[in-house]
Symmetry: C2
Subunit: 200 residues, 2 copies
Amino acid sequence: MLKLYEFSTSGNCYKIRLLLTQLEIPFERIEIDITKGESRTPEFLQKNPNGKIPTLEIEPGKYLSESNAVLFYLSEGTKFLPTDKWEKAQVMQWLFFEQYSHEPYIATSRYWISILGKAKEYQAEIKQKQAGGYAALNVMEKHLENHQFFVGNSYTIADICLFAYTHVADEGGFNLNQFPAIQNWIERVKNQPLYRSILR
Amino acid sequence: MLKLYEFSTSGNCYKIRLLLTQLEIPFERIEIDITKGESRTPEFLQKNPNGKIPTLEIEPGKYLSESNAVLFYLSEGTKFLPTDKWEKAQVMQWLFFEQYSHEPYIATSRYWISILGKAKEYQAEIKQKQAGGYAALNVMEKHLENHQFFVGNSYTIADICLFAYTHVADEGGFNLNQFPAIQNWIERVKNQPLYRSILR
């Protein structure tokens, strides 16, 4: 059985749980407490030398890291990744957009505020992340104003990947009230078959 | 003909030039001076709403952004992207590693020091980027100690993507002397057929 090494409140880990659930693939969850350095132990570095979660154990001793690489691997050949070359390229574009222009702002702020509970200690850093996070949300809003989903009018790993931290952006201090298209898209994602919440 | 909107000293843009050259695909280059805000004009935001280069115009009005998404798109079906599912997943893993754990440290420092020429003004920021950059180089060094290339013993877009900023890491204040495996790999990449330098 697949083993998911994860920190369960992490959106990057939730992406994998959501896709695996929607693919009806069973998996075992192993909690790695990153706030206690558990992803940096010599034992864990054997699994992922970059010391990060999620890491998926595909079969004994065979590990894949980077949440969006795992989404790609699991979705190939399923309805969650288009086969059309141009649509697949656009999925990839949104996956890299998420890791470069979205996650480092919104997920990082959420980590300081809601996971560590240290909004005061990280006040200056959180303030620095606001502009970048809102820029990413603006790019998403503009796209969703005339698209039901990110690519090709159907729900793909581009949606799963961007949903993970966007739907909990308020936990990072981002207000979604000014983004009606994003709010409607969040509802569409939540209405997908076999949807599961980040809380479980 | 493909049109590459680029800032030519950017490693992210160089990745695309290198692959297109090795694929023997002709392309037109259009310089966008990011230091003058040229990727943020209303006209350019029509091409890439995220306001970043490189952006590749595949055909009139059809644009693809995110350097590693472009590498993926161009390399599918060529020797630069494995067809084996597991090897392809590992390529993806390194592509996301590069954009999350490598580029934000090494490329950003190089931008401040060697592109803007403002090492003094950005002294504090550059210092903050050192640990992350060296951590990424250590992950690469460890992998290259027993691999000729990043995935599957052959030269792929994983190598192209990591090469772009690694071989000019000194321009970002990173010393490669302590990384012999990386240095040897850089030579192997430079010896690939149809290699072109970042300078042209």
